[in-house]
């Protein structure tokens, strides 16, 4: 059992961190060039040069392009109108049509940004070409923004995801193990024998908590080591602080698990309830989608989500180098949570029924 507990999460960490990417690459790009001029070809060349786009086909008509998109062969269609170059030179502006397959809304958003960026850059270059020096005075002063990405300079999604996935693994393993635990003893019948002994409720619960607490901390250690070795995730903050927070956090999760275990009669029931909570907690943790973009009521619910705090603390400490005072609010809430959940677990464990 112990090798399984450690090996499977490691495999998950490696696979998920590499696969669960928010980057959109290999966009299938098609275009309809009605202009056939050097300007239009130059624009298409820009897309060709980008590593994000695979320029596939030149469609002869819009209808053909649409049907290809329907089949899923094309993600983005750029339509260059007739007299694109002429309008640009004479009237100093021209229109382009961009169609994006938005079944995956998030990907479509990213694709839109890429397309806009390429066209803007093209626009700036061509302005210099088209408007001669004489026109300089009428050229609008353009404001250029140079974004600076703090804490994750290269926008490396792995830097962002690995701490999050580590949170997920530590949480799931400890929750499932503790959730199965007491109920398993109920099923086998050993609990009956234990209940007749003078052992105190709190002693029993602590005895149940401790091994899983050790396993949880072990998992964190293995996960952090891998994050450093394989993904080279920066660890700016203090590791002892991270361990301090995790040690309290695991108590919360174990408390929840034991609480579930006390209220169920079979491992199947416990499994189902534990699964129900993990799914909600994970999807509402800010791990995959930012909490800021959730509706107000959902944001209120996330206040009660321990995983949310762990994800925040993990990212804050590892990537931002947050110190104790920065994470104090989370630390207090988590400690409170730990006391409540474990108190409930002890209370709900009945030796007599």
């Amino acid at each position: 059992m112990l090798p399984i507990i450690f090996v499977l999460p490691i495999v998950q960490l490696v696979i998920l961190s590499n696969a669960a990417t928010f980057e959109v690459k290999n966009i299938k790009f098609g275009y309809i060039d009605n202009d056939h001029t050097s300007t239009s070809r130059a624009l298409i060349e820009k897309f060709n040069a980008s590593t994000y786009f695979n320029v596939l086909t030149d469609f002869s008509s819009e209808r053909l392009a649409s049907s290809e998109m329907l089949k899923g062969h094309v993600d983005v269609i750029l339509e260059i109108p007739q007299y694109f170059e002429r309008d640009f030179q004479k009237e100093k502006h021209s229109n382009l049509g961009v169609t994006i397959n938005a079944i995956d809304g998030a990907a479509a958003g990213v694709e839109n940004v890429y397309v806009t960026q390429i066209i803007q850059r093209f626009n700036q270059n061509i302005k210099i070409d088209v408007f001669q020096v004489s026109d300089k005075q009428i050229q609008p002063i353009s404001i250029e923004t140079i974004p600076l990405f703090w804490y994750n300079k290269t926008l490396n999604y792995k830097t962002f995801m690995v701490p999050g996935i580590l949170v997920l693994l530590v949480t799931m393993i400890t929750l499932f193990l503790s959730g199965m635990n007491i109920v398993r003893e109920k099923e086998i019948g050993t609990l009956e024998q234990i209940n007749v002994t003078p052992i105190k409720k709190s002693q029993f619960i602590i005895g149940k908590l401790f091994p899983f607490w050790v396993i949880g901390m072990g998992l964190l250690t293995v996960g952090l080591t891998l994050a450093k070795l394989i993904f080279n995730v920066p660890m700016i903050g203090s590791l002892p602080l991270l361990y301090l927070y995790t040690s309290i956090y695991i108590l919360v999760i174990l408390g929840i698990g034991l609480f579930i275990s006390n209220f169920t009669d079979t491992q199947q029931q416990a499994m189902f309830i534990a699964w129900f909570f993990t799914v909600i907690f994970i999807l509402m943790s800010g791990l995959f989608t930012p909490i800021e973009s959730m509706p107000k009521w959902a944001q209120t619910i996330t206040e009660f989500n321990p995983i949310k705090y762990f994800v925040e603390v993990m990212r804050m400490v590892m990537l931002k180098g947050a110190n104790l005072s920065d994470i104090t609010p989370m630390l207090i809430k988590t400690t409170l949570y730990a006391f409540i959940m474990n108190g409930l677990a002890v209370r709900s464990y009945k030796k007599t029924n």
Binding site: I188, G189, T190, L191, E192, Q193, I194, N195, V196, T197, P198, I199, K351, T352, N353
Partner: protein, 300 residues
């Protein structure tokens, strides 16, 4: 006083498991609770071992009340549930050590009490409990229940599913434990084991039918029982059941136990009747009633 139960009732939703049960077990007595599956034996055990709270009535174990003094009961009783409930993935020795620790004692401290039993499983002390045979498991469970030197020992169907030799050994062990002053309450569905107890209570459908020594219970049997045998047992039972003076007919081993409703019963009448039913090799002889006969009669 070992155990005292007065007017205990317990129901699970609609099912009445125990109906107004009262009995007393003297200190140092080996008391048997005899009854078929579903009679309420386990429920009674769970109430006495403080695992379950009765709806009505009071009970004391070793002079401690099961409700108000449950902590003391847990310290001073040994309980062996019907289902094997030790840690299967711990070894024999680890299990024993574990339970000794929970009770705040050590194996060495009470070794003399379990010595007789432990030597039998000692060769397997490094084997996991789950890998032991049925009889070995029972011995280990008994050791674990005795490790803290309990005043009262509760054994819920300890011999169910155990082979006849191990069963006999097990009862010998109980007799020896009794001599060491431990009050023992044992339940069993086997009527032959009842005769080994000091006193027994016959229980069915949550009610106690009779409480007495096995000898007295047998003496209470109102009729003369006859062992009847013929060439075809099935036809024999059918024939006896349709006999107009039939009082009771139960198969019992190789014989059929028969009682007649008449006081002046003459076996020759029965032989003639059975012969008329085309049965041969008919044997009829008087026999002494057993606890099983008594139980069947009372449960009628």
């Amino acid at each position: 006083m070992g155990i005292s139960v007065s007017h205990i009732s317990k129901s699970y939703k609609a099912v009445k498991a125990l109906k107004d049960i009262s009995f007393e077990v003297k200190a140092g007595e080996l008391f048997g609770l005899i009854g078929p599956d579903g009679a309420g034996k386990t429920t009674l055990f769970r109430i006495l071992t403080t695992l379950l709270i009765a709806n009505e009535g009071t009970a004391t174990v070793a002079n401690f009340d099961v409700i108000s003094d449950y902590k003391n009961i847990r310290k001073s009783v040994g309980y062996m549930p019907g289902k094997f409930s030790l840690y299967q993935d711990l070894t024999v020795e680890e299990n024993l050590d574990f339970f000794a620790t929970i009770f705040g004692t050590t194996i060495e401290e009470n070794y003399d009490l379990i010595k007789d039993i432990y030597v039998q499983i000692a060769p397997f002390k490094d084997r996991r409990a789950g890998k032991l045979s049925g009889g070995m498991k029972q011995k280990l469970a008994l050791c674990c229940a005795l490790i803290h030197k309990p005043k009262v020992l509760f054994l819920d169907e300890p011999t169910t599913g155990v082979d006849p030799v191990s069963r006999k050994e097990f009862w010998d062990m109980l007799k020896r434990l009794q001599q060491k002053g431990i009050t023992i309450l044992v339940s069993t569905p086997y009527m032959d084991e009842a005769a080994l107890c000091d006193r027994i209570a016959l229980i069915q459908d949550g009610k106690i039918l009779e409480i007495d020594t096995p000898q007295a219970i047998v003496k209470h049997y109102p009729k003369q029982i006859y062992n009847v045998r013929a060439n075809n047992t099935y036809q024999l039972i059918k024939a006896l059941n349709t006999y107009k003076h039939n009082h009771s007919t139960y198969p019992f081993g190789e014989f059929v136990h028969y009682t007649d409703s008449r006081l002046n019963f003459n076996p020759d009448d029965l032989v003639r009747y059975l012969e008329s039913k085309k049965l041969s090799n008919i044997e009829i002889e008087k026999t002494n009633p057993t606890i099983e006969d008594t139980f069947m009669e009372l449960a009628k």
